[in-house]
Subunit: 279 residues, 2 copies
């Protein structure tokens, strides 16, 4: 089938590689505001060709929105207006605002809301890789509001990508992703700012930074174009979990101030329980 990928960056480009490898796509058309990205995606063989959105849409069986969530909000209603046979899926990191916007659209059924729990701190077509989605989780939201054939097409795609499929409603999705994804990014941005603020001798960071620091701070390389809209969409959940995180840090700080190393020890033991969840 012919697939249009809107947004030929890390996620769109990686999808293109995998969809081609799995023989799901006969033709992949790229659509992107950024002409340099399109040229690069074509040169890398991620897409077969690029076209203006309307032309690409008309020729496609499946249209994938791999763009920041505010751009999804902006484009989706107009695409649904034109959607007759096409299936439209997004791969955005928030779901409530997007699904709320189109909930009464007459062609709502053509849309499948998806979120692959995969990514890296890099962006752009050159960051695309073939292994990005392998054995990761794909969340599909509110599938009951999507047409049966549309859901089947996306489920087939998820299976071919060898991803684990999870179903949720949009509210649940946004709550859980605030905990297990969005807060990690805030922590990492704040940690980078802390170190850059306190540690004026960049050379010293470079010499001393070990694997632990690198892994904690690597998400701080993530693009603001992608992340500001996510925090905007999921503001209430993110604020709630950020409050709790600051509270935990303040509590550890008090233990240190009071030299209450017994409580500090117990807090670390409680934190160690994350071992049971993350192998």
């Amino acid at each position: 089938m012919t697939i249009t990928i809107i947004g030929t960056g890390l996620i769109g480009g990686s999808l293109a590689i995998s969809l081609r490898e799995q023989h799901l796509a006969t033709t992949i058309i790229g659509v992107d505001n950024n002409q340099a990205n399109l040229e690069r995606a074509k040169a890398l063989g991620l897409i077969d060709t690029y076209l203006p959105l309307d032309e690409a849409f008309a020729q496609s069986d499946l249209v994938i929105l791999a763009i920041p969530v505010d751009a999804v909000l902006h484009l989706l209603p107009g695409l649904l207006d034109k959607a007759t046979k096409q299936v439209i899926m997004d791969v955005g990191s928030t779901k409530e605002k997007i699904l709320d916007l189109v909930k009464d659209h007459p062609h709502r059924g053509r849309f499948v809301a998806a979120h692959p729990m995969a990514g890296t701190e890099y962006s752009g077509p050159d960051a695309a890789t073939s292994q990005l989605f392998l054995h990761k989780t794909m969340v599909l939201c509110d599938v009951k509001r999507s047409d049966e054939d549309a859901v089947e097409m996306v489920e087939d795609l998820v299976e071919k990508l060898q991803m684990r499929l999870v179903y949720m409603n949009a509210k649940e999705h946004d709550l859980h992703t605030a905990y297990v994804s969005h807060i990690s990014h805030i922590t990492s941005f704040a940690l980078a700012l802390t170190v850059l603020q306190k540690e004026r001798e960049a050379g010293r960071i470079f010499e001393l930074a070990s694997g632990g620091f690198a892994s904690t701070v690597r998400l701080a390389k993530s693009s603001p174009d992608m992340w500001v809209p996510i925090f905007k969409h999921n503001r209430n959940n993110v604020l709630d979990v950020l409050d709790e995180h600051i509270h935990q840090l303040q509590s550890m700080k008090s233990m240190l101030e009071n030299e209450d190393y017994n409580s500090f020890y117990k807090a670390i033991q409680r934190a160690n329980k994350i071992k049971k969840i993350l192998k």
Copy 2:
């Protein structure tokens, strides 16, 4: 030469593997309070034998303290009392308190204070690996207070391990490691506690946790036996950097509360500068 390694866990065990591979050690003797660790280290071939501390010490050319920093404080003066020909090195994560304790010891020169900027979130002999130190940084502190032959022996060891050598004074060391190592661990412990507190459905974390979450939170698996003494020794520096970190998080929180997405965008752009330091 004969090397005694006190503490046959992750660091001591990994050193044992590398020292043997590099033909630096003819015999490696293990010393450990934990008999099960000794048996396991011997079964794994990390050590040739194990002995009580005094016997091991008497036979050794080099004695390496690979134990929590409070245990280093406890053992080091007594070892120095007996040190005639022996070189003693530690591999602890803090340096000021240790070096201050022995600064006037008549055998101070036999001690070389070292800190390999390497580790993982795992502990015990089974966590030992041959590649742990490769191309990582080894910090030596206050080497001018150590005897020339002792420094040369440790420098030779560092070179054979293919590590990058950096010299610092103890004060500098403890300041910089608070920024690039100790704060990462606090952040990670607090993040694990946040998620475990907010996210009662452990199954959901498991399903949704992607690489980003795993990398931010992996240090939260680290042992309190190792880390509480580090935070205790480096309390003032850690409190200082923790204050700044909480301030950065509160500032991001205010931006979200006030829906000041312009400032949020700029903050992320500033955090992105960590790219220049960490490739």
